[in-house]
């Protein structure tokens, strides 16, 4: 059986999830920020070693699928290491990046400086008709100005261009005439309509700016990675995981699609597990140092969003949704001077200097300091012993800044910190679920992240969620999730169609537009190796009506409307999605989105034989912990040695190099055949 390799490159570690030949291997290597292809190859070499193969070449020669999710685009944005951009916009509309009057576009000053925005005179009508085409001389003068000011990549984003990209395309032709591609001085030109078909000029421009900014770093890395594995006997295209939950080969990947692809892959993995366990609604909670990230799985599918902010820059792209809330291990506890009440966050000590117990100069008490003080975290076994913590320092800052002012013992103060962050996080969780039409009672929680094991049990209880799952491969979860990604291409077309049962022209226009998208999709999927019958197409219609305040996304299983009956069915589905009492007489179709999927996902988890309820074989010892004002002896278990059927009764701690899980009194932690565990009331 051929192998599949899934690799997730994070900021600190690069994780691999490799499956095949009846075996599953998890590997973790240090990320090499100077050249991310080094850790990518190290990960494959490490996997080959774990599988007992002589070299990476032997593994790659037997591999049928290799998928990669990466943070390099995010890093390029964070480090602001992209090239100097120039932006060409429509005069009178785009000077401020198409931001509404009185509102700033956060992309200006971050991705591009105001002086690098040039304007030209051109106009498209409301339906996209060319009213005033761009003048060649003016375009060339504007571009020359941008080049003189140091532009290394130019984005052309003209108002309403998705309705008719001809003006943007004309700009490209004019520039190419003067700066042909074979000249050394040629400058890459990106049209906004090549990146996004969003009619919202500001969001489309931002998407194009982000794409242009990170393109170079992504292209350099991904092509090199692709080339490196081909030289080592891998015969298929390297697939890159996208934030929309699919994967595509490098040549068909836009840089912006890869942003946040790791968390998106994690949600795909969670969706697979939700289906495996037959769970209807699942809340994923990934608790890290600075924040907790929430995701939602409804009926086995991840929740998508059409709007996201990339480091504060708004864009409209269809991506798997994750939401960041406060309440990580580094969240700082403080006393509100006005009320005298204890608060936790939103300030965070971050990774540097981090909690006081890290000994790196952090002098404010954090949640991690509280956990250390209460005995939940072993100061000698943090990160599997890679970092020793200073428990005395943790106590000292809590004593001075919290316990003293509140006249509490240090342990009482630490418990108060944990209680406060738990309640605040639970509140955010309830709001998050309510916004998605879910109620805590019917939801199961999946806990991830280094701090998830200590945080999620309490948060679930406080939020009213009955079951929490923990996963021994939680530290590799994004790589596992990547193994659940199919090859997916997405297409979209801006539209301006007034659909009504008697609007025959609009129906014909709708069907023709969808057919054109489908043709593109089949062509591309054939290039990915999928025959037409293997490809699954799904359509979404973005429609608006005067009855609804915002555009509504309507999934439309058929790829045509056909006629009056089809339109009526679409209007009815629109009514249901918009929450209207009556279907409108007509809707304005703004955008058509087509998703083409070719199946490659085949995630499988290791299976274990039943080993009985007694977890004694995994017992490491006992640890004194404070629980509700008392010092108790908590049995300590090794997560990696717990077997199928083992039941750990609370109060207990379950520990691994990556996390510590607190099983409270009155709760049990049951390990299943996949070595995952569910914690619930006993």
């Amino acid at each position: 059986m051929p192998f599949t390799i899934d690799i997730d490159t994070g900021g600190t570690f690069t994780d691999g999830f490799v499956r095949g030949d009846g075996r599953t291997v998890l590997v973790k290597v240090d990320t090499t920020p100077h050249d991310l292809t080094v850790c990518f190859l190290n990960c494959i070499e490490e996997a080959a070693r774990s599988l007992g193969l002589p070299s990476a070449e032997h593994l790659l020669a037997q591999t049928s699928t290799l998928r990669l999710s990466t943070t390099i685009g995010t890093n390029a944005l964070l480090q602001r290491s992209g090239p100097k951009l120039g932006l060409l916009v429509t005069r009178g509309a785009g000077e401020n990046g198409y931001a509404p009057e009185g509102v700033a576009n956060p992309a200006i000053g971050f991705l591009i400086s105001q002086e690098m925005i040039a304007t030209i005179d051109e106009e498209l009508g409301e339906s996209g008709a060319s009213l005033r085409p761009p003048a060649g001389a003016e375009v060339l003068v504007a571009v020359k100005g941008l080049l003189d000011r140091g532009a290394r990549r130019i984005v052309v984003s003209l108002a309403r261009s998705p309705l008719n990209p001809a003006h943007e395309q004309a700009c490209r032709e004019l520039v190419l005439e003067d700066y042909p591609a074979h000249y050394l001085g040629t400058v890459p030109l990106l049209l906004s309509t090549e990146v996004s078909s969003q009619l919202d000029d500001r969001c489309r421009t931002n998407a194009a700016l982000i794409d242009a900014y990170i393109h170079q770093a992504m292209a350099h890395y991904l092509y090199k990675a692709d080339e490196d594995v081909r030289r080592r006997r891998y015969r298929w295209p390297l697939l890159v995981v996208h934030a929309n939950g699919g994967a595509r080969r490098v040549a068909k990947t836009k840089a912006i699609d890869t942003l946040d692809s790791g968390p998106a892959a994690g949600l795909l993995g969670a969706a697979h597990l939700a289906r495996l366990y037959g769970l209807k609604d699942v809340l994923t909670v990934d608790v890290g140092g600075t924040s907790s990230d929430l995701g939602f799985i409804a009926r086995g599918e991840p929740y998508f969003t059409d709007y996201k902010e990339v480091h504060g820059v708004p864009v409209r792209e269809r991506v798997i949704e994750t939401e960041s809330i406060g309440g990580g291990g580094s969240s700082i506890a403080w006393i509100d001077a006005a009320t005298g009440a204890l608060r936790v966050g939103p300030q965070s000590a971050g990774a540097l200097p981090g909690p006081a117990c890290y000994g790196l100069g952090g002098d404010r008490p954090t949640v991690t300091d509280a956990w250390v003080t209460l005995g939940y975290i072993d100061p000698e076994y943090f990160l599997g012993g890679r970092r020793r913590l200073d428990a005395a320092r943790a106590r000292a800052v809590i004593e001075k800044q919290i316990a003293g002012p509140l006249a509490l013992s240090v342990e009482e103060a630490a418990e108060a910190i944990v209680r406060e962050v738990t309640l605040r996080t639970a509140e955010s969780v309830r709001e998050f679920l309510a916004a998605r039409g879910a109620e805590a009672e019917g939801v199961t929680m999946f806990a991830f992240g280094g701090a998830g094991g200590l945080s999620c049990g309490g948060v679930a209880r406080a939020a009213g969620i009955g079951k929490v799952y923990f996963f021994p491969f939680g530290a590799h979860f994004c790589a596992f999730g990547s193994s659940c990604a199919d090859v997916v291409h997405t297409y979209s077309a801006a539209a301006d169609l007034q659909l009504a049962p008697d609007a025959a022209d609009a129906v014909r226009g709708f069907d023709a537009a969808v057919a054109a998208l489908a043709d593109d999709a089949y062509f591309d999927m054939l290039g990915e190796g999928f025959e037409r019958e293997k490809v699954t197409l799904s359509l979404e219609v973005v429609a608006a009506s005067p009855q609804a305040t915002e555009a509504v996304v309507v999934p439309w299983l058929q790829l045509t409307l056909g006629g009056e009956a089809g339109v009526r069915a679409l209007l009815e589905e629109y009514r249901r999605r918009a929450g209207l009492k009556r279907a409108p007489a007509a809707v304005a179709v703004r955008e058509l989105r087509l998703r083409a999927a070719g199946p490659i996902a085949d995630p499988q988890l290791p299976k274990d034989e039943p080993h009985g309820k007694d977890p004694a074989a995994a017992r490491k010892g006992v640890r004194p912990v404070y629980w509700r004002g008392k010092l108790l002896e908590a049995p300590l278990y090794d997560q990696e040695r717990l077997r199928c059927g083992n039941v750990v009764q609370g109060l207990a701690l379950v520990e691994s190099p990556h996390t510590t899980i607190l099983v409270p009194p009155g709760y049990r932690y049951t390990v299943d055949e996949h070595l995952n565990a569910v914690m619930e009331e006993a």
């Binding site: 100077h34 480090q79 140091g150 100069g361 890679r386």
Partner: protein, 344 residues
């Protein structure tokens, strides 16, 4: 072609821009702080110094994390006077924990012949060069990266024995030859650093400051050769020579390097007056090691005193490697003083 000024304006605000401005003789927005952090970074990462100094990944990660933690203005790629000595065949003894390696055998004194060719491929130097490559690749756009070379007298002393400085002062041809040989090792390493794109090269010589005028003069050709190689790569050379008295320092200021780092009362009081004797030279006002081991208040005060004495071409540094046992809180206080002074 974009003018250099425009490039500089684009980078202004970063630590790199600050240090590059200083090295070009322009007035930076504030006084840059360039501490010699190496084994201190190992302590912060909870790594044994010996392990870090032998592994490119650990070394580059520790140095990057230390810079990110404190935010000082340049990363030195290593600080280990035993590095070149080991590559030249000296046996080392590593103490437990964070201590520095000691040389326990002197190949030149034992009559061994040293082959300088390919020295950069021996001992731990390949790991250091790889770490330097990574530092430049990962942080080089935002933070200046400085290559550290053991000075010719310091290396010659480790190769030929403790008596070398006095022999050099006494005009011994063998001592001068040992210094010239050490200088050639320095040139090799300087060339390797230059190829990697470092912003400056520091010649760290803990024996130079103890020499008399005659000894300094004898070491000058070796220093000049290293400085010439660095200049070829558009990298400045800074001389780090602790234990200098006022006379020696004034003499060193006239040596063929771009700047001098010096500690003690001379740095605070007399160096500004000595500046006209060496126009255009960079002056590193060095914090004495004791200030890094004291309370945060002491560290902040010491930095404040030196910053008050800073003039054109001045930067703040440490007199030698930041000791591994330096106070983390003190270092944060020091950084606060530097930022407060410059308003950035």
């Amino acid at each position: 072609m974009r003018p250099a000024g425009e490039l500089f304006r684009e980078m202004s605000g970063s630590s790199k821009a600050l240090v590059r401005a200083l090295l070009r003789g322009e007035a930076p927005a504030r006084v840059p702080f360039i501490p010699w952090v190496c084994r201190f970074a190992a302590r912060l990462e909870q790594l044994p110094a010996a392990a870090m100094l032998a592994d490119a990944g650990l070394l580059s990660r520790a140095l990057l994390n230390a810079q990110r933690l404190f935010g000082y203005d340049a990363i030195c790629n290593v600080f280990d006077p035993s590095l070149e000595a080991e590559a030249c065949g000296c046996a080392l003894r590593w103490p437990e924990g964070e201590g520095a390696a000691e040389v326990v055998s002197y190949p030149l004194a034992a009559g061994q012949r040293l082959d300088v060719e390919g020295v950069e491929a021996r001992g731990r130097l390949p790991a250091v060069l790889e770490a330097t490559r990574r530092l430049v690749a990962v942080a080089g756009a935002e933070v200046a990266v400085i290559g550290v070379i053991t000075g010719p007298v310091a290396l010659a002393r480790r190769l030929a024995g403790e008596g070398l400085p006095s022999a050099l002062d006494g005009g011994s041809p063998q001592a001068a030859e040992a210094v010239a040989l050490a200088g050639r090792v320095g040139q090799k390493l300087c060339r390797a650093y230059g190829e990697l794109g470092v912003d400056a090269v520091v010649i760290a010589d803990d024996a130079l400051g103890r020499l008399r005028q005659e000894g300094v003069a004898a070491a000058a050709p070796a220093l000049r050769s290293i400085a010439n190689v660095a200049r070829f790569y558009d990298a400045a050379t800074l001389l780090l020579a602790p234990h200098c008295g006022a006379g020696e320092a004034a003499s060193l200021l006239n040596r063929p390097v771009d700047g001098l780092v010096i500690a003690g009362p001379f740095a605070e009081k007399q160096l500004p007056e000595a500046a006209p004797a060496a126009p255009g030279r960079l002056r590193g006002l060095a914090l004495e090691t004791a200030a890094l081991l004291g309370t945060p208040e002491q560290a902040g005060e010491a930095a404040g005193r030196l910053l008050a004495a800073a003039g054109p071409g001045s930067f703040l540094a440490t007199e030698w490697e930041v000791p591994p046992e330096a106070s983390v809180e003190g270092f944060h206080a020091l950084m606060a003083a530097v930022r407060g002074r410059g308003g950035s």
